[in-house]
Symmetry: C2
Subunit: 230 residues, 2 copies
DNA sequence: ACAAAAGTGTTAATCTTACACCCATGT
DNA sequence: ACATGGGTGTAAGATTAACACTTTTGT
């Protein structure tokens, strides 16, 4: 079979982080080409002998110096033929979450100009990256309700109020504090630690930890994580 | 930017059909190459100036002569570098449903040898198509519970018992007949027609119709289709 | 003593489950 | 009259939603 195909394949990653009650995305500034100085998602072309997964992880490391906490394939963007002005590019987009403590370390990225942008204060994005980002945001909102991925945005030990705010912020709705705590605790996948919060005001709060192993065990037996409030 | 990339991009479609209480998949027999006579999913390479969507629809028409009722992107398979023995191919897999009345028309496909296989009686499949199929099956099972896609597998007018059997068959579980009917009807997205079933035995049954427009309206207002029984 | 956030229970309403008998037709 | 599948209701249990006051700390 003869086959002349002139389509390039790339991967892009939407990396979400959460800190100070704000959801942020990691963007990098393009250094070359026609799109110089525009902000874009982390991403690049796939090498001939590299899996898609390896490609994303490589780009995450090369361009932003980070290792993510959660990574999954999001969607493949290939219906807009001119999404890249240079030539036909199909992009396999990935959805990633990082622990919020890593948001502070932004500066360690030297080669590229990488920055966290609160989701409500985005710059203009290159290519169709705005579309990709919207798709990712919807995925995050959906998935948050039926998989325990919120914990991948928090430090290992976190306050209940942080978890609650994370849900409120990302889902953009109010959640009853008592009902939320009751429900989450009823799952039995979160445990109290002996540590207390380093807060400055108000009553000190216990720190909690997500027990992933326990979750995996329960999930295997058919347990369904599900957070869904009016 | 110089870019030498030798990866080909293909699309594959998993087409599900439902008839006589059996879920089936459409497969075609390879006519050329090293995989001659092996059964495989409908699919092929994407053309330079063709969207991914156009590519799948073209292949569906060319190889099987069908138009599907529902089509969505499933997953992009690119982590197994040797999935195609000829060269590196990344495949964007699509998930499709056809109206069960179309299952009878199989014969109209002339150029290729296309056939419906009950999901429980699959032949050996080419490439990694078995993996793709499994992914699709999981998607079908999940999606059936939270989106009204079951109707895309049935004729326009259908018996309640067909709908119920479809759910039981695909989800592989028993569902209480009364509770099922009650719940589905409570959504208000299914309407009775004036027609009755052409059945040979038992009490004649009303035919029902899915009101997609009404569903879309409700969905816009936040209504969530949800079928989930013990 | 006051401000700030943490922690905690109860009740009504809704939804889910389990379950069995009669009905309309063809033979 | 019988076989076959269609059609229907109710009650107990589980889950969800709504709601407000007390506790602990720092200032």
């Amino acid at each position: 079979m003869k086959l002349e195909q002139n389509i390039k394949i790339a991967v892009d990653a939407i990396v979400f982080g959460y800190a100070d009650n704000h959801l942020s995305v990691l963007l990098i500034k393009q250094k070359f080409g026609e799109l110089k100085n525009q902000w874009a998602l982390v991403g690049g072309f796939v090498k001939d002998n590299e899996t898609l997964n390896d490609a994303v992880n490589r780009e995450l490391k090369e361009e932003a110096g980070i290792k993510v906490n959660y990574l999954e394939q999001l969607f493949t963007f290939g219906d807009n033929i001119d999404r890249d002005p240079r030539f036909r590019v199909i992009s396999v987009a990935y959805f990633a979450l990082v622990n919020s403590t890593k948001l502070v370390l932004t500066a360690d990225t030297d080669a590229e100009d990488a920055k966290w942008f609160p989701i409500k204060e985005l710059p203009t994005l290159a290519f169709d990256h705005k579309d990709i980002l919207n798709t990712a945001l919807l995925r995050l909102q959906n998935k948050l309700t039926y998989q325990p991925i919120g914990f991948d945005l928090l430090p290992k030990e976190f306050l209940f109020s942080d978890l609650e705010n994370l849900y409120c912020t990302i889902l953009e709705k109010e959640i009853d504090r008592r009902n939320f705590r009751k429900k989450i605790l009823s799952f039995g996948i979160i445990e109290e630690t002996d540590n207390f919060s380093p807060k400055k005001s108000g009553r000190p709060a216990k720190l909690f930890r997500f027990n992933k192993l326990k979750y995996n065990k329960l999930a295997k037996d058919g347990f369904l994580f599900d957070i869904n409030f009016a």
